[in-house]
C-alpha cells in the first residue's frame, strides 16, 4: 500500500492535486486549516488505491504532499 501525507497547515485548498490524481481519489475535505483554507484530503478508505505515483505531489504548488511507495505490505504510518 502506497500512501500520501498532506500537510494540512500548508495546503491552500487549490485542489490542483485532485485534478492531477490519475485515480481520482483525492477530494476536498470539509475541514479548514488555521489559515482558513479548505484542505484537500485522501480519505483513509481510498488509501489502498494509491499507487504512489506522486503526481499530486509534483502538481502541488505548496509542496505540501509527501509520498511513500510500497510494493505490497501493510505499512502503518508513524507520523
Amino acid at each position: 500500500m502506497s500512501r500520501i501525507v498532506i500537510d494540512e497547515q500548508r495546503c491552500k485548498g487549490c485542489l490542483l492535486c485532485v485534478e492531477a490524481c490519475p485515480k481520482s481519489i483525492i477530494v476536498a475535505s470539509s475541514r479548514f486549516n488555521a489559515k482558513g483554507y479548505k484542505v484537500a484530503e485522501l480519505p483513509e478508505a481510498s488509501m489502498d488505491t494509491c499507487t504512489g505515483c506522486a503526481s499530486c505531489a509534483q502538481m502541488c504548488p505548496d509542496v505540501a504532499i509527501t509520498v511513500w511507495r510500497t510494493a505490497k505490505s501493510k505499512a502503518k504510518e508513524n507520523e
Partner: protein, 252 residues
C-alpha cells in the same frame, strides 16, 4: 514493510508557508529549481538574483545566497555577480512584468553578450503583485485592470514572445519554453531547467527557460480553471519547445 519515500520537499527549499495565492505555480517552479540545484550539488556555490514581482521573496524560500535586483535589472546584476565571482553558479528568477517590460534592455544585452548565467522566466501574462495590470505578454482579448475591455491588438499590440526573440541572439546556448500545467509538462520543465543550468556549468553560454504559469487571482479564475486556461489558451499562443540548443546544433 519496504516503504520507500518517493517524494518530499527538497532540503534547500525552506519549510515555510509561501505568500503565494492558492494555486499559484511559482511554488512548482521554485521546487524544480531547488531540486535541480541539489541534483547538481550547486547549493553551496549558488548566488541567486531575484526580481521585483511576486517572486521578490525568492530568498525566503530557496535557501541560497541571494541578491535582490532593482526592477527588471536581474540579468545586469547577475552579470556583475558572475563576472566578479566566476566560480559561483548564478541564476536570475524573473516574472513577465519584470523581464519583458522594464527589464527588456537588460535581458536582451545579457543574452546577446552570452553571459554565463541562467534566467528562469515565469510568464503568467499579467502583473501579479501590483494588482493585475496588463503586461507585455498579456494575450489579445485578456481582461486586466488596465485593459478592462480586453487587450486590443490595434491599441496595445500583441503579446511579446520572449523565447523566440531570445533564441535569435548570438550568445544564447539554450532557450526553451515549457509549462507546469500537467505532469508531463512539469517533467519537461525540469529537463529544460536542468539543461539551462548545465550550459552555465559547462561555460557554453546564456541559458533561458520560459515557464508558462497561472495567476488565478488576477485572472479572476479558480486554480483549476486557471490551470486549464494554460493548456487551452496560453500554449496555442506561446508554443512550447526548445528554440535553441547550442549542444545539438554542433552535431547535425
Amino acid at each position: 514493510m519496504s516503504e520507500q519515500l518517493v517524494f518530499t520537499r527538497p532540503e534547500v527549499l525552506a519549510d515555510v508557508a509561501t505568500h503565494y495565492c492558492p494555486g499559484c505555480q511559482h511554488g512548482v517552479v521554485h521546487r524544480i529549481v531547488a531540486e535541480c540545484l541539489e541534483e547538481f550539488g550547486l547549493v553551496e556555490k549558488t548566488i541567486a538574483v531575484s526580481s521585483i514581482g511576486c517572486s521578490v521573496f525568492l530568498y525566503n524560500y530557496i535557501l541560497v545566497d541571494t541578491v535582490e535586483a532593482p526592477h527588471g535589472r536581474a540579468p545586469a546584476v547577475a552579470t556583475g555577480v558572475k563576472r566578479a565571482r566566476k566560480d559561483a553558479f548564478v541564476f536570475a528568477y524573473q516574472g513577465d512584468g519584470d523581464l519583458a517590460s522594464i527589464g527588456m534592455a537588460e535581458i536582451m544585452h545579457a543574452a546577446n553578450r552570452g553571459e554565463r548565467i541562467s534566467v528562469i522566466f515565469v510568464n503568467n501574462t499579467v502583473y501579479g503583485m501590483t494588482g493585475g495590470q496588463m503586461a507585455p505578454t498579456t494575450m489579445v482579448g485578456q481582461k486586466t485592470t488596465t485593459c478592462p475591455a480586453g487587450r486590443c491588438m490595434e491599441r496595445e499590440g500583441g503579446p511579446i514572445h520572449m523565447s523566440e526573440i531570445i533564441a535569435t541572439l548570438g550568445g544564447v546556448a539554450y532557450c526553451a519554453r515549457t509549462a507546469v500545467n500537467t505532469i508531463k509538462n512539469i517533467a519537461q520543465t525540469k529537463r529544460a531547467i536542468r539543461r539551462a543550468f548545465e550550459t552555465q556549468i559547462n561555460g557554453e553560454g546564456f541559458g533561458f527557460v520560459e515557464v508558462l504559469a497561472t495567476c488565478p487571482t488576477n485572472w479572476r479564475m479558480s486554480s483549476v480553471a486557471a490551470n486549464e486556461r494554460v493548456g487551452k489558451e496560453m500554449i496555442p499562443e506561446f508554443p512550447l519547445g526548445v528554440f535553441k540548443d547550442a549542444a545539438k546544433e554542433e552535431q547535425p
